[in-house]
């Protein structure tokens, strides 16, 4: 839509240009139509002068002038010439000769006129032809131009179309290339993944086999270690009791039957890291004494030995355990 206005303007501009062109051409044509008559006249006069006698030079001059002006003048010259005829034979001869000459001239003139006419016609024709040609040319030109324009537009459109097509094609190609690349990539990846998976599977299988072996060995080792640890731990109960004994400061308010329970947490180093009262005795001092007995003990080196021998056993049996504080043989 937006092209309509510019197109109209362009057409108008072209039309204007065509008009101005035609106009100037026409003007030139009018000029060129007058010009050749002058040239013919001059040409004619020069010939007449060259052929005419020196006597008739003046007359010839008149003649010269006459045809320059109007044809009737040449008629006058003829009249003058005829009036002079009866003068003499010579004159007559001369006259005859002159007449002949005149006739000849006339023929010539006629011929010339004919020629001129012919020429003029020819010129006219030529002009017309030229005009027609020009017109035709113009038409052709305009047609050509239009055609060119059309063509240009068409070409442009074509180009655009082509460009678009090319672009589309390119894009398509690009897409196709991309797709292909992707597919390739995917395929490659799939292949790689497949390979990897296969490798992994193989590796895993190998690993599993090794692991199983290791596990078996470890289990055996662990079992052996645990057996040792178990043996080591057989007296751990008494050991802990002995460790606690000196550190358990029984408050005087403790009464027989009093019982507090704590859960303790040890590090593999045997160090106490947490003491939690899980059953109160009802006597704050006694509860605290129980907790403090563990804190005061600080660590159990023998438990550390067991943990070193079998971490699994330590984790299972000795990382956390309970202690029940129930002093016997209190006074009350």
């Amino acid at each position: 839509m937006s092209y309509i206005l510019p197109v109209i303007f362009a057409v108008a501009l072209h039309a204007m240009l065509a008009f101005s062109f035609l106009y100037t051409q026409f003007m030139q044509l009018q000029q060129s139509r007058q010009m050749p008559r002058h040239i013919q006249a001059q040409m004619y006069d020069i010939k007449a002068l060259s052929t005419a006698t020196k006597k008739a030079e003046t007359k010839a001059k008149d003649v010269e002038l006459a045809p320059e002006k109007t044809p009737p003048k040449s008629d006058e010259v003829e009249k003058v010439v005829e009036e002079k005829k009866p003068d003499n034979q010579q004159l007559k001869d001369q006259q005859a000769a002159l007449q002949e000459q005149q006739k000849q001239r006339e023929v010539e003139k006629e011929k010339k006129a004919l020629e001129r006419k012919k020429e003029q016609d020819k010129l006219k024709d030529e002009l017309a032809k030229k005009e027609a040609d020009a017109k035709k040319q113009q038409e052709i030109e305009s047609k050509r131009k239009l055609a060119a324009k059309d063509k240009a537009e068409r070409e442009k459109a074509e180009q655009e179309k082509q460009r678009k097509a090319e672009q589309a094609k390119k894009e398509q190609q690009k897409l196709a290339a991309q797709k292909k690349a992707e597919q390739d990539k995917k395929r490659k990846e799939e292949q790689a993944a497949k390979k990897k998976a296969a490798d992994k599977k193989r590796q895993l299988a190998e690993k599993a086999r090794l692991k199983a072996l290791e596990k078996q060995m470890a289990e055996e080792e662990q079992f052996a270690a645990e057996q040792i640890a178990k043996e080591m731990a057989s007296g751990v109960d008494g050991y802990i009791k002995r460790m606690l004994k000196g550190n358990f400061h029984i408050p005087t308010t403790a009464r027989n039957g009093i019982n507090a329970m704590v859960r303790i947490k040890l590090l593999p180093s045997g160090r106490v890291v947490a003491v939690e009262l899980i059953q109160s005795s009802g006597n704050a001092a006694f509860d605290r004494a129980a907790e403090q007995a563990v804190w005061r003990t600080e660590s159990f080196p023998k438990v550390a030995d067991i943990a070193r021998t079998s971490p699994a056993y330590f984790n299972r049996e000795l990382r956390t355990f309970k202690m029940s504080f129930k002093p016997e043989e209190l006074r009350w």
Binding site: H249, P251, F321, W332
Partner: protein, 431 residues
């Protein structure tokens, strides 16, 4: 398949848990050591040039020490005197064998001072208690006893009785110059003041349960009479007198009745006198001597000493039914029974081949423990928290007050008062 797996897993877990729960090692600690709690009472910082009239941290340390439950680190052994938590190097205090430490700082204010105290559990490095106490300058000992009470309660779970009072009788002079004084002092013997002075004997002071009144026997009229004296006003009131002995008053828990010994009916018997109505109720009827009544904590029965079995022993009489049970069997002399507030322990004067001692009997097991090895011990009186027994004894031929922890682990002698000191009576908690 999946379902089975989950189910299986759950089962396995459950089994493991069960196994674990069953398998958790339980160590029974049946032995320990009788060792008092080690505590360091660090001398308090005092932010002033003028010296304080009392050494608060020393008073606190003394209080705690006399309970028998604490072993105080001596000031000389302390490597540092932290006044704030950030100054404490717990490791050092732990190495020095302490379980707890009390730090504090004081600064003067316009009227008195502000004390900030903090109690730490050294083994766990945790703050157990802290408080800022504002006080006037002339009751430093009250502040000290208050802090000691708090520390005692925080660590032992038992209410501290360091802010309580004790009354006792002193005898000074010879012949006509002989002077009897009823005195009241802090539980540590400090700040004694005379409540009554007389030229005639004063006996058996006893506290009302609200701690506001005393009852005692005075011979000021040459005949023994029972008097009630209001501590706040000093107002005295002689109660109804009877022929013969009027002695050994004991206030019941409600404060409305007095148990007493009267010999108006021939020989000393235990009676209950209703102070509002004046009604007298006879509790015992025996040809033997029944004396030294004391109320059980619940007010339902009265314990007394009687020689009805030939030798003095301690008996219990149910007030409602009049049923009498003998409580003491060990030894041939047990008298002056006093019972703890929980009703479990009975302290008494027990005589063995070495003389008279303070003994304690567990009424649930009847186990008797002799707490003192001095030979002239008498008049035991139990701190309201049942931790310490105070009694009168002889030191270098002079009557003094001494104390022993109920477990007998610690004994101490009260600061010397002028004259012979006898018949101490420990106040109830004074709120």
């Amino acid at each position: 398949m999946v379902k089975w797996n989950i189910k299986n897993l759950c089962l396995v877990l459950l089994t493991l848990m069960c196994v674990n729960a069953n398998a958790e090692l339980l160590v029974e600690i049946t032995e320990g050591v009788d060792q008092p709690t080690n505590i360091a009472v660090v001398p308090f910082g005092w932010n002033s040039d003028s010296p304080l009239v009392e050494d608060i941290s020393a008073i606190i340390a003394n209080d705690l020490s006399r309970s028998g439950m604490f072993k105080l680190m001596s000031k000389e052994n302390m490597l540092s005197s932290p006044a704030t938590q950030d100054q404490i190097f717990f490791r050092d205090w732990r190495i020095s064998g302490n379980d707890f430490m009390l730090i504090g700082s004081m600064k003067p204010t316009g009227a008195g001072l502000i004390a900030t105290v903090e109690l730490f559990d050294i083994l766990t490095e945790k703050k157990i208690w802290s408080q800022t106490i504002e006080s006037s300058n002339n009751d430093l000992r009250d502040i000290a006893h208050y802090i000691a009470d708090e520390v005692f309660q925080k660590i032992t779970g038992i209410r501290g009785a360091f802010s309580t009072k004790v009354v006792y009788v002193t005898v000074e002079g010879l012949g006509a110059a002989r002077k009897y004084r009823l005195q009241m002092a802090d539980a540590d013997g400090a700040r004694p003041r005379t409540i009554l002075s007389s030229n005639e004997p004063i006996l058996s002071p006893t506290w009302s349960r609200d701690g506001k009144k005393l009852a005692y026997v005075s011979f000021e009229t040459t005949k023994p009479s029972i008097y009630i004296q209001h501590l706040a006003t000093g107002k005295r009131q002689k109660i109804q007198s009877f022929k013969g002995i009027n002695g050994a008053p004991a206030w019941d828990p409600s404060g409305n009745r007095l148990a007493l010994v009267l010999s108006k009916d021939g020989n000393p018997e235990i009676y209950i006198l209703d102070l509002t109505s004046g009604n007298l109720q006879r509790l015992t009827r025996h040809f033997g001597i029944d004396t030294e009544p004391t109320w059980s904590a619940d007010g339902q029965s009265i314990l007394f000493t009687s020689d009805r079995a030939g030798k003095p022993q301690i008996y219990r009489v149910e007030i409602a039914s009049g049923a009498i049970t003998r409580l003491t069997y060990k030894g041939n002399y047990n008298s002056r029974g006093r019972i703890t507030q929980d009703g479990r322990f009975l302290t008494m004067v027990h005589r063995d081949e070495n003389g008279f001692h303070i003994a304690v009997q567990d009424l649930t097991t009847d186990r008797l423990d002799i707490l003192t090895n001095s030979r002239d011990d008498e008049s035991p009186t139990i701190a309201p928290n049942g931790v310490v027994v105070m009694y009168a004894t002889k030191k270098n031929g002079k009557g003094v007050l001494a104390g022993v922890s109920l477990d007998g682990k610690i004994k101490f002698t009260m600061p010397n008062a002028s004259g012979d000191v006898r018949e101490p009576a420990w106040s109830p908690f004074l709120d």
